[in-house]
């Protein structure tokens, strides 16, 4: 039989994955960190016993966080990632030649350290000269930034533990201040099957602050329900009105120009959360 990891995604439902070996386990200053090798998904990073990323399906999340706002913006130069210490979003951001600087602010340096060691295909671009890595509180970094970024991506853990402030209205107001006048932000906002109330709350909070607010989805098999949502707030540019000539070919496995648009078409019960 061997060792199996089970994540209870709700009190009454979960996923279970066969573990080939555990590379590292520790309680960091902020959360429980486990780096394991699974038989199905390759190496997997767990924080507080929740799957954060796996080698096999990470591309969906990272491509969809990065490329949707980056193509929506006509010329993104300064980009911030809050959280995202595994480096996957940074890797995708660097595929955009307009980007001059990508700042990563993760509160937990251990996530960065062990991702570099055990998830090199994900974290491998953190040393790129266009990247600045800061081990710091993203909430504070946002509060101290003013009109500094074209695009901000919130690649946080769930709204428990160290990320709880990253789902507050005050944080979205801070993000608005940290963005330039035509800035865009996106945050991962969990799934509509188990966390409908959270999505609804965040969507309406963001809507009060940003001119354009949109919800989009992607299929991430190791995340609860397999249907993940992202909430995008934009001061000016609408992701549904990107000019045809803005798009260029990228080396991706999930994102395409057509997926960019289709991702905003929501199943009825999800669309209802935005009304």
């Amino acid at each position: 039989m061997g060792l199996w990891f089970t994540e209870k995604q709700t009190e009454n439902f979960g996923i279970t994955a066969k573990i080939k070996q555990t590379y590292h386990s520790e309680q960091t200053d902020f959360q429980k960190l486990d780096m394991v090798e699974t038989a199905e998904w390759g190496n997997m990073l767990l924080l507080d016993d929740m799957v954060m990323t796996t080698e096999k399906d990470e591309f969906v999340y990272h491509e969809m966080v990065a490329h949707v706002p980056l193509f929506t913006h006509p010329n993104p130069k300064d980009v911030l990632v809050v959280g995202g210490g595994d480096g996957g979003v940074i890797r995708e951001i660097l595929k955009h030649p307009s980007v001059q600087k990508a700042v990563l602010v993760d509160i937990d340096g251990k996530v960065i350290e062990y991702s570099k060691q055990y998830l090199p295909s994900i974290a491998g671009k953190l040393e790129d000269p266009r990247v600045e890595v800061r081990v710091a509180d993203g909430f504070m970094h946002i509060a101290e930034s003013e009109k500094a970024y074209d695009v901000i991506m919130v690649d946080s853990t769930e709204p428990v533990g160290p990320a709880v402030n990253l789902f507050s209205k005050g944080f979205y107001a801070g993000i608005s201040n940290a963005l330039k006048d035509d800035g865009i932000f996106v945050a991962q906002t969990d799934n509509p099957w188990f966390k409908a109330d959270l999505i609804k709350q965040v969507f309406h909070d963001v809507q009060e602050i940003f001119q354009v607010t949109r919800l989009y989805t992607a299929n991430i098999p190791t995340y609860p329900s397999g249907l993940w949502t992202f909430t995008l707030g934009s001061k000016m540019h609408d992701p549904l009105k990107v000019k045809e000539e803005r798009f260029f070919d990228l080396d991706t496995k999930y994102y395409t120009k057509n997926i960019h648009h289709a991702a905003f078409v929501l199943p009825k019960f999800v669309e209802d959360l935005t009304e």
Copy 2:
């Protein structure tokens, strides 16, 4: 702790759900049947230890199997469901006033019997006067039908056990014969994360027989990977070219006119399977 059911969706990965009670378990003439009450998903039907349907998320599968081909056809009157003994696809078909007769052919009468008893919100329309239920071999029924149906839906189990013939090229050829000259069929064709080869095989088999072949997806959280595919073969009508005036409002929770189109926009790694 209590009782948990675990479905190994692959050798090395699965889902696990807390069971409140088991209503019924038996080995039928064709498969192992379990009807249980789960804490997360309501009542759940299992066949050969695989989740077939649950009260909470069944609407996705049933709406997406039924409405995509039914709206693609300009005037569907005679409709056949192969498998689908839980009655969910029939319930959705009956929402289309043009349908005069909906025939259900399931090989296992026990599925029908226990769905009526424990899944009334799903099976409740099986007694409708427009419905004819036959406990018979769907493969044989198809072989004996000629130009009989406008739309055929294959709501089968996985390509193991009683459904293995329903994923063969000979079966798709039979379906073509059983359809009228402008007929359409759709089959559930598993998920692209674990069964990419199956999807590729079926798509190309169908493509050799039907004028129009399209793949579409839907999010079904209790099915492997959460991303389910459906393969549609059509003799004439293209699901991507449905006239605006063909659509009418339906009482649905997942399907919308916009989802109809967006469901055919595939993530890059899925699109690659159709090339």
